[in-house]
Amino acid sequence: MKIFTCIKQVPGVSEVKIDPKTNTLVRKGIPSITNPMDNNATELALSIKEKHGGEVIALSMGPPQAEEVLRQALAMGADEAYLLTDRAFAGADTLATSHTLGLAIKKILKDSGDEKKYLVICGTQAIDGDTAQVGPELAEELGLPQITYVQKCELKGDKIITERVFRSEETVIIESKLPALISVLKEVNDPRFPTMTGIVNAHEEMEVKYLNANDLKAGKENIGLTGSKTEVFKIFIPEKKGKHVVLEGSVEEMVQQLCNNLKEDKLL
């Protein structure tokens, strides 16, 4: 059984900076990391493989430097890694991205004799774009049932049994036959660290295979900027409005002052 895990390279900071002129993320001087939930996806893939056998295949679409996050997946224990890289893929929105990932998965399945039973695992969302759309769109591309926001997951026979928390109070158990796609939250597991041997193997004995638009027989109209149905009009960090006041004194004094201030501002 093939278990695909989709990985994105993201800037490793909690506060992103945006270039106001180009409307793009400032990446200079910022280290890149694996999107944290994608590590959870890889961990889940590896733990399923360890219990039930199979083959873990890591995929990423991005510029050549995204090879680094795939090397990390290999170091954690993935069997194969593919980097989808081509200038024609650049500027892709979530739809064009999931289309491209879908083509790659179809190609890998076809090249290995059209395996019918497989599982695709994505992190629910990336910490940069935060859309949570690629997983669901990829499921549509592949015609698979999808279970999103998964917090617990287990494989039984040819069924995947998952738990997700609904409206932060009810736990819903959803199962699906394979093939299927699931997107996971960080609660699903605690990703392993790559071991030293894993890191050595990932760099010295394994390869990250590159796939371009030609390899995927991708139609120009469906990939990259031209294949994108959405366009980012503007990205900005909301300006801080109003002033920030620190109240001091006893609780009574502070409450009194707060009430006075609110009255002054006609909020009370």
Binding site: R71, F193, T195, M196, T197, H203
Partner: protein, 384 residues
């Protein structure tokens, strides 16, 4: 000249840093106070491959035997969090496991190296005695051949990992050639009758690491446990120490780095006279000097490692690295305590532990004075 690390080395640094911060940092203070290595961390470190870093994969190691820079990075990153752990893994791998890989027979590698590399057994290099340390030739622990076995008698002191190890490399006097003692290194399994652990030392620094006395009373060692050859102990011993010094230097780079980072954080946060103390020149100069010292130490350490990996004679550079790095760590931790003021004297702040740990490093694995002797002799001999 290219100073950039490879992608592999960068990943090793990032992963080891994350690992040490997650698993070692939360219990470092407690380990120091209880003089104890946490068994759970030990298990995690085995899984990561930190006990067999410099051993080839076919012998159960991580396969970094030709990448001493990576071994340094690992030791540095562990040392940045807790020097007790970096000395435990550093000594085990560099002066016990690595020499068996380098000088051992295939049988010795199969029997002793594989369990060491996997961390199933812990290793020791035992040279220092009550009357021999800096003067390695003063070794009095002796062995004589009796049939097919060597019979060992004597005792070693200050052995890092001594009380918890199962495989020892013991430097022993096996004869006399004129004025010179003939030394031999034996691989000793601690389950051999006649072997016992003496006093466990209560130390100033690296308190969690185990430092013990080892006692040998008619310990019978099979002939095939000689490392290298009979009489090669002095030569092998010095080579073992040369390699080990690079790793001790790396540990000090990590310790100095930790002191620097703690000082920067504190200098930016601590407000006196209405402004952060980092805005005062007195503190700024300390921070600058610490930064320079740690960076010098790192460059020398990586250079020694690079020379080792490229088959060049690295002994002197290793001594320079060990000297500079241990003194840089001492300077940096000393200044870190000073910057922290009263808080720096308290156990609640890690710089108190860094300071004690740094002092150890100016003494063990060759004191600063011995390093200066070695370096000076080399420079005076070669003339430039």
């Amino acid at each position: 000249m290219d100073f950039s690390l490879t992608e592999k080395q960068k990943m090793i640094r990032r992963v080891t840093r994350e690992f040490a911060e997650k698993h070692i940092a939360p219990i470092a203070e407690e380990s120091d106070q209880q003089s104890r290595l946490d068994p759970q961390v030990m298990e995690e470190m085995k899984k990561m491959g930190y006990f067999g870093t410099c051993i080839p994969k076919e012998y159960g190691g991580a396969g970094l035997h030709e990448d001493t820079i990576s071994f340094c990075i690992i030791t540095e990153e562990i040392g940045r969090i807790d020097a007790s752990w970096s000395i435990t893994t550093g000594v085990h791998a560099s002066v016990c496991a690595y020499p068996i890989y380098k000088f051992g027979t295939e049988e010795q590698k199969q029997k002793f190296l594989i369990p060491l590399a996997k961390g199933e057994k812990l290793g020791v290099f035992a040279l220092t005695e009550a009357n021999a340390g800096s003067d390695a030739g003063g070794v009095e622990t002796n062995a004589y051949l009796d049939g097919d076995e060597w019979v060992l008698n004597g005792s070693k002191i200050f052995a890092t990992n001594g009380g918890i190890a199962e495989t020892l490399l013991v430097v022993t006097k096996t004869g006399q050639k004129g004025k010179r003692k003939e030394l031999t290194v034996f691989i000793v399994d601690t389950n051999t009758p006649g072997y016992s652990v003496g006093v466990r030392e209560d130390k100033l620094g690296v308190r969690a690491s185990n430092t013990s006395e080892l006692v040998f009373q008619d310990v019978r060692i099979p002939k095939e446990n000689v490392l290298g050859s009979v009489g090669s102990g002095f030569r092998i011993g010095l080579q073992i120490l040369d390699y080990g010094r690079i790793l001790m230097a790396a540990q000090c780079v990590g310790l100095g780095q930790a002191a620097l980072e703690a000082s920067i954080k504190y200098a930016n946060e601590r407000v006196q006279f209405g402004r952060p103390i980092g805005s005062f020149q007195g503190v700024q100069w300390k921070i600058a000097d610490m930064g320079v010292a740690v960076e010098c130490a790192r460059l020398l350490t990586y250079q020694a490692a690079w020379m080792c990996d490229n088959g060049l004679e690295y002994g002197t550079m290793g001594s320079m690295a060990k000297l500079k790095a241990s003194e840089a760590a001492m300077q940096a931790t000393h200044d870190a305590v000073q910057i922290h003021g009263g808080y720096g004297l308290m156990k609640a702040y890690a710089v108190e532990r860094y300071f004690r740990d740094a002092k150890m490093a100016e003494i063990y694995e060759g004191t600063s004075e011995i390093q200066r002797m070695v370096i000076a002799q080399k420079l005076l001999r070669r003339g430039y």
